[in-house]
Subunit: 304 residues, 4 copies
């Protein structure tokens, strides 16, 4: 498979989608990004790296961080995590409170905001220096390149954070958040405000294509079984309430963020990070989805 | 991979689950089945067949038929099908009307009852002798063995069919069912009442593991692209509102029915039909899920 | 109180609202009515009658019939009726299925369609010649004037009746409708298709202002206690999901229909029927509400 | 009407209900109250006062305070209040977030918690010393007797206040709360923690039976029209999601609180405060409802 040519073809063909999406604007810090940025980085399990476009520009990973925090929670606490959060697609927008009320504060899955807040609460118990240890965990996965928190974004989120505060207080009212809401939100907004590059993200997700082993050191980040399970969660719930549509078009376990990033994994083969800040109506990178759709269609590569 | 030994190991280990589920009892015709039946049949893309247990006993395939009717609709009408039914997980029980009201008669996906009724309505337009053509389509996929309608089951469903009648009238009130409700229900109850064996089902699903080609004749049943897409739908929505949990534990595109059957596919490798009539709380074969969980865990085989 | 002058003042002042609403058009038979019709008839407990406008033109009473069927069911079956239908405002549109699913086929109140279908089912048991006896019951209340079924409207409803068929099948699936759905709908569409005049309606509702006694004969139609209770139901649930707004503006127990009629009651004093076919967004007579608002504001007459 | 005998008869007959309800226990400060307390105080528009039982013991008025804050908001801001909160029954429990999500932060009515929080936010703008002015407003209505805030209750509510914090943040995320959530909750918990006696409450509600005029001074607290409207809101929404049932049984505009108080009004005649701390499943005084049911049934007095 000539990954390099394929990335370039897809890059060019999707230029036509410039201007069709909308950069996240719910906080000032996010809407300043150049909407025309676009990059793709593919890292293979045997050490290859193929890139195209803006792969060295750091961007806000936002909800993609939920994969890292879940991986860390699973690594520390194992299957016990599932006593506090479910594994089903939600069928509702990422920040909905409706389902949470019917299901008594037990979030459907760890990738909707409610579930990610519960995972954050778990990490506050599990880690002694939570933010520092999350950053170290990601840095070690990424191998090189900076993994930092954009404080401007984090503060901006906090100022506009009433919806997440509502979710956290609501879950706490059912007893499924144990730390102070302020503490949970503080950590949550910070790990969502991590910035990384496409190249860094592709490398950091490679363990999910390698049965859980760190591609550089060979050490187990997660067991092979937990790795399979984390990939399945990305497949059913990784792209908000566009997950089914995305599975249909792309067919790779993936996670997106409102910063415009999407990272996909083909187990046994590669991880692929794309970034384009313009979003579709569901909050996913519009050009990113178009690129991944073409990539899998032209290559015939998908889990299906 | 020694499939035969694996099937036998799994068969034995899951005997302990006898008596823990509950045979479907909402219609008399279904509850007469022997709850202790259990069979597994695995057909490989290169022509192998491995079986264990009650693989030659015909059973009611129920919702598994929705894969066949959807495949036929996609074959006939192509992507146009998606103007009438969606591709997202529902997050609600299979026969819920709640979501349908909020979304104005557009069912979330073709595997919940509402979506399957719309697909049935499409086939009434697309086929001249609908039931006959559905049966022929399945028979040709299965290669041999009988594919028949159990009229006792179909009539029993009709008698107890108020929930489905409610769904159909409701969708029709939004204009998304075009034929008479009686006609749609008549065909729907009949294709759900088809009986097949594990062996027959494994063979009939093999095209989904073979990029859409009939394993015997090599002819394209569906394009490679539509095949991938159908598999993705089974992954996100194939086991009612246990789809996420099942993807997490098993990790294979699959479809279940309340008759106790589940058929799974590993693209490029095999299709695997299991049957055990005792159901869990979500209406899926309890021992069937346990068996598939062990099968994929022991073999390390899954799409993830 | 000079009722006649008040009616005339209100009639004139509300002429300005002509053309601001929309005649019911979901069935052809209803949309043929002249939108400019308007009438008001007030009957007092001491035998007075005050009228203004088109009070002698028969119109389709539609949901107003639900008061008569409920009164008849209460007369026959007493408080037992409440084992099958509730007494709470619904908070949802009149034909919603959402709540019904959460509450397992037990309709919130007898004035939403679901509840009225259950009351109709009760009358099928309670009466030997249901439609005939309903018509007789209303005729005796109205004293004179014709009370007939408009078969064109009834048939038109049946043709477009998928939403109500969905409701009836859905309730039946929970066991709270006992007769065949066709039979229930047949009677339901017929009692909704009854035509009466403003004068007839005002007279027929007078027993609700007279502690349950027939104003002509003095006989008890309902006990004083059941009369109070029926009035309370009209207050909390009589105008679909505009009931709270209407109670706020008008403050009289009332029932509306999509034919454009509204009948209000001031216990101890009068019943007042208004008719204007143009509806607001909730399906209530737009000019009718404006007229009743002015009537109660100018007179200071309301239950509050 | 011999009110005194009636109160005594009702008092005695409802002693049998002791022990059948449950004192509010969600905060420690509330559950310390003696469950056997019971009192009734009836104040007439012509200055009479009839009492029975524990009418001089102060208790936590809780949600009854929402009538006072709404009256004050209407007095200050007039109908403008309705641009921020609705007038329809909710059909959902008092602290539900579901409806609020569908309706974009616009609460159904001022008596569910969401609506009361918005009214509290309005008063923070409208009043210069909000809590002080609320207390003065109520004191002047009550005429004599103490109206104080129980700080132990207010603090206890704050500690357990995650559900209300969730509501407030959620509404703020839609822009319908303008002050800091902490500030809104601080005032909200304090006005809910006001303690009064049955006698004080009966007197303080008497203006609602007197077309808005202060029964002592004759001054207009509210216009006659706004008074009618406030009564209608109590009728359709005053007893949480038991409002319909209560209207059916009692038929008087009323407001309840989880402290066990209920105040009812018969316009033109009297206001009637009852207090019994044991609650039914909806959070309303169990013996209080039984007493009011008997009072209106025996006397034949109700608005219907």
């Amino acid at each position: 498979m000539d990954y390099q040519s394929l990335l370039e073809r897809v890059y060019q063909e999707t230029e036509a989608f410039k201007g069709q999406g909308k950069v996240a604007d719910y906080i000032p810090a996010l809407k300043q990004v150049d909407p025309n940025r676009f990059g793709m980085a593919l890292a293979t399990v045997d050490g290859g790296l193929f890139t195209c476009g803006d792969v060295h520009v750091p961007f806000s990973i936002q909800s993609i961080s939920k994969v890292f925090t879940l991986a860390l929670a699973l690594k520390r606490e194992g299957e016990k995590v599932w006593t506090r959060v479910g594994r089903e697609p939600s069928g509702h927008p990422f920040n909905s409170l409706v389902q949470l009320e019917h299901e008594q504060g037990f979030p459907r899955n760890p990738f909707i905001n409610a579930g990610a807040l519960v995972v954050t609460d778990i990490l506050l118990d599990s880690l002694s220096k939570p933010l520092e240890e999350i950053l170290t965990f990601i840095s070690e996965l990424a191998g090189s390149g900076s993994v930092t928190v954009d404080e401007a974004v984090a503060c901006s989120e906090e100022e506009k954070g009433d919806r997440n505060a509502a979710l956290a207080h609501f879950i706490k009212s059912f007893g499924n958040i144990r730390h102070a809401v302020e503490e949970v939100l503080n950590l949550y907004f910070r790990h969502c405000a991590i910035t990384m590059t496409c190249t860094g993200l592709a490398r950091a997700f490679l363990f999910l294509a390698s049965k859980g082993r760190h591609p550089g050191t060979g050490e187990a980040v997660l067991t092979s079984s937990l790795t399979k399970r984390l990939n399945s969660l990305m497949m059913t719930s990784g792209l908000y309430n566009e997950s089914g549509e995305f599975a249909y078009r792309v067919g790779l376990p993936s996670k997106s963020g409102v910063g415009g990033g999407i990272v996909s994994v083909l187990p046994g083969h590669f991880s692929l990070a794309v970034w384009g800040p313009e979003l579709d109506a569901c909050g996913n990178s519009l050009r990113g989805i178009e690129a991944l759709d073409r990539f899998t269609t032209y290559s015939g590569l998908s889990v299906f």
